[in-house]
C-alpha cells in the first residue's frame, strides 16, 4: 500500500480532574477506583472547547508540521461520538477553520470509540486509489459519563489528526484489517446526554474479544508475531484493559510504553488510540514497526500494521505540542468547577 501517514498532531485540553476528587463527591474511594482503572487523572475541556475546536487545533498542528497546503486536502473526516451538532457536520467547520474549503469532500464518522481509525481506513482507500492527494482523519471526543457513573472517572477530552498521503510518508501502513459484530455493550440513544452501558458486558464479549481477534487476524494476515513490533497501541477506555489485552496477546510493557496514555489524560474515546499512536510517533525513529488496534463499542476493531520510514527523521515536530506535554501538564479542577465546565449546572432561564 502506497498511502501512509505524512503528518499528525494531537491536542488535549488543559484541565484535569482526579478520580479521588470525583469520588469525594459521590462518597466513593475514588483513589482506589482510579488505581483499579489505572487512571490517575482525566482531561476536562474548557467551556469553550468541543470536538470542533479540538479537531481544529490538532489538524492545524499537523498541517504546520507537514508543511501541507490545506487546499490540497481532498477529504476530511472527523470521527467522534460527541459531535457538537446532531445534524450539521463537525467536518465542515474544521475544514473552513484550516482553510481547506471548498474543493474537498467532508463527513462526520461515528462508531463509538473507533470512528477515528475508521476515518484513517477511508482516507487510505481514497489516497491509495489516487482519488485525492491528501486525506485527513481525525478522532476527537469530549465524552461524558453520567454523574456518579463509573464512566465519569475516565471519560475525558482530546483528539488527534492524521494526514494521509503518498508523498513524504513518515509512517507506512502495510495492512489494515477489521473485525465487526453486533454487540450492544455501550450506546447513547438519540437525545440522551449521557451514554448507557452493559457494565461488565463491556469486557469479555466486547472489548477483549474484538481487540484480540482483530489483532490476531492482522498478525496472521501479514505473518508477524508480537516480537516484530517496537510499539503497540490499543484502544484504551481505561489504563487496565489495554495492559491486559497486551499481555494476552504476548506484548511486553516496554512495547506499550508510549502507546498507553489514558492513565494520564483519561479515555478520550475516538481520540484514545490515535493520541497513543501520536505519542509513539513523537518518540519513534526510522524503521520502527507499530501495531495499532482501535475498538468501538457496538462493536468493532480496526487493526493497523505500521512502520516508520526514513522520512520521520526529517519530520519537523516543532509546531504544536508533543503528546508528552499533555501527559505531564495540566491544571487540576475541583468537582464544582468541573461540573460548571461540563455544563452539568443548570443556569437561570434554561
Amino acid at each position: 500500500m502506497q498511502a501512509g501517514i505524512v503528518s499528525y498532531g494531537a491536542y488535549v485540553p488543559r484541565y484535569r480532574i482526579t478520580p479521588a476528587e470525583i469520588g469525594r463527591v459521590w462518597g466513593i474511594d475514588g483513589e482506589s477506583m482510579g488505581q483499579a482503572l489505572n487512571v490517575q487523572r482525566k482531561s476536562v475541556p474548557s467551556p469553550d472547547e468541543d470536538t470542533i475546536t479540538i479537531s481544529t487545533e490538532s489538524l492545524r498542528t499537523a498541517l504546520l508540521r507537514g508543511a501541507i497546503d490545506p487546499q490540497q486536502i481532498g477529504a476530511l473526516y472527523v470521527g467522534s461520538e460527541s459531535h457538537p451538532y446532531a445534524v450539521k457536520p463537525t467536518a465542515t467547520v474544521v475544514a473552513q477553520a484550516v482553510g481547506a474549503t471548498p474543493n474537498l469532500t467532508a463527513a462526520d464518522f461515528e462508531f463509538a470509540c473507533k470512528a477515528g481509525t475508521a476515518a484513517i481506513q477511508t482516507c487510505l482507500g481514497l489516497v491509495g486509489a489516487e482519488m485525492i492527494r491528501y486525506g485527513v482523519a481525525i478522532g476527537t471526543d469530549t465524552s461524558q459519563g453520567a454523574p456518579g457513573d463509573a464512566l465519569e472517572y475516565s471519560a475525558s477530552a482530546g483528539g488527534a489528526a492524521f494526514v494521509i498521503g503518498r508523498e513524504r510518508v513518515i509512517c507506512r501502513v502495510h495492512r489494515t484489517v477489521s473485525y465487526t459484530t453486533d454487540t450492544p455493550d455501550f450506546w447513547r440513544r438519540e437525545g440522551q446526554k449521557y451514554p448507557s452501558h452493559g457494565g461488565r458486558f463491556t469486557g469479555e464479549p466486547a472489548y477483549f474479544r474484538h481487540v484480540t481477534e482483530c489483532a490476531r487476524a492482522l498478525m496472521e494476515a501479514v505473518g508477524s508475531t508480537p516480537k516484530d513490533y517496537a510499539h503497540v497501541v490499543f484502544h484504551q477506555p481505561n489504563g487496565k484493559f489495554p495492559q491486559r489485552v497486551g499481555k494476552t496477546l504476548g506484548f511486553s510493557e516496554a512495547q506499550m510504553r508510549y502507546g498507553l496514555v489514558t492513565p494520564y489524560i483519561g479515555n478520550t474515546y475516538s481520540g484514545a488510540a490515535l493520541i497513543g499512536l501520536a505519542n509513539v510517533l513523537d518518540h519513534a525513529g526510522p524503521g520502527e514497526r507499530i501495531l495499532m488496534v482501535g475498538y468501538g463499542s457496538g462493536a468493532g476493531s480496526d487493526a493497523f500494521d505500521l512502520e516508520t520510514t526514513e522520512e520521520i527523521a526529517r519530520f519537523d515536530r516543532s509546531f504544536g505540542r508533543p503528546v508528552q506535554y499533555y501527559l505531564d501538564h495540566g491544571v487540576e479542577l475541583s468537582y464544582a468547577v468541573y461540573a460548571k465546565f461540563r455544563g452539568k449546572i443548570h443556569m437561570g432561564g434554561e
Partner: protein, 163 residues
C-alpha cells in the same frame, strides 16, 4: 445574532484574514476597503488585497471580566485583552488557558480556535479566534495529583486586582 450575519464573517473570525494596502503596505484587521493611512483615500480603493495574519501576538492590555457579555456567562471570570500582532493590527480577544493572575502586559500569545458563544441550547454555535499563552504559565502536574477542594485555578488574591 442572525445566522447570516455571523456566517459572512467566518473567514475572518476563523482564520484571521485581513487586508493590506498595496499603496502604503499597512495591514488591517478586520479587512478594510479603503486605507485610512493613505493621504488620498480614493487611491487605495482598488488596491486593498487579502493579507493573512500569523496569529502571533503580544498582550498590550488586559482585563478580567466578571460581568460578562451576553452568551459568555459560563466563562466568567474570563480574560479579555488587546493583542498587538507583528503584522500591525491590534485585536480584541479572550486569553484562555491561563490563570487570570498570570496575564501581564507583554505576554506572548498565539491565536487559538474556540467556541465564542451559542445561540441558546438549540441555535447555532459561533466559533472564532481567542489567544493562549505561547509558553505554559503553570508548572507541571505532580505525578499523582492531590484532590483540589476549591476552584483554585479560577481564584486569585483580591489584592492583585489593582496590580
Amino acid at each position: 445574532m442572525s445566522i447570516a450575519r455571523f456566517w459572512r464573517e467566518t473567514p475572518r473570525r476563523y482564520n484571521l484574514g485581513g487586508s493590506k494596502c498595496t499603496n502604503c503596505g499597512t495591514v488591517y484587521f478586520p479587512p478594510r476597503s479603503v486605507c485610512p493611512q493613505c493621504t488620498h483615500h480614493r487611491q487605495s480603493i482598488e488596491k486593498m488585497v487579502r493579507s493573512q495574519l500569523s496569529g502571533e501576538g503580544e498582550v498590550l492590555s488586559y482585563t478580567v471580566v466578571h460581568e460578562p457579555a451576553e452568551g459568555f456567562e459560563m466563562q466568567v471570570p474570563y480574560v479579555l485583552a488587546l493583542v498587538k500582532t507583528p503584522e500591525g493590527p491590534v485585536l480584541t480577544g479572550q486569553v484562555v488557558d491561563v490563570r487570570p493572575g498570570e496575564v501581564r502586559i507583554g505576554l506572548k500569545v498565539r491565536a487559538t480556535f474556540r467556541k465564542l458563544r451559542e445561540e441558546g441550547k438549540s441555535g447555532v454555535i459561533h466559533y472564532g479566534y481567542k489567544f493562549s499563552p505561547v509558553e505554559e504559565t503553570n508548572g507541571g502536574l505532580p505525578a499523582r495529583g492531590p484532590p483540589v477542594p476549591a476552584p483554585e485555578s479560577l481564584e486569585r488574591p483580591r489584592s492583585a486586582a489593582g496590580a
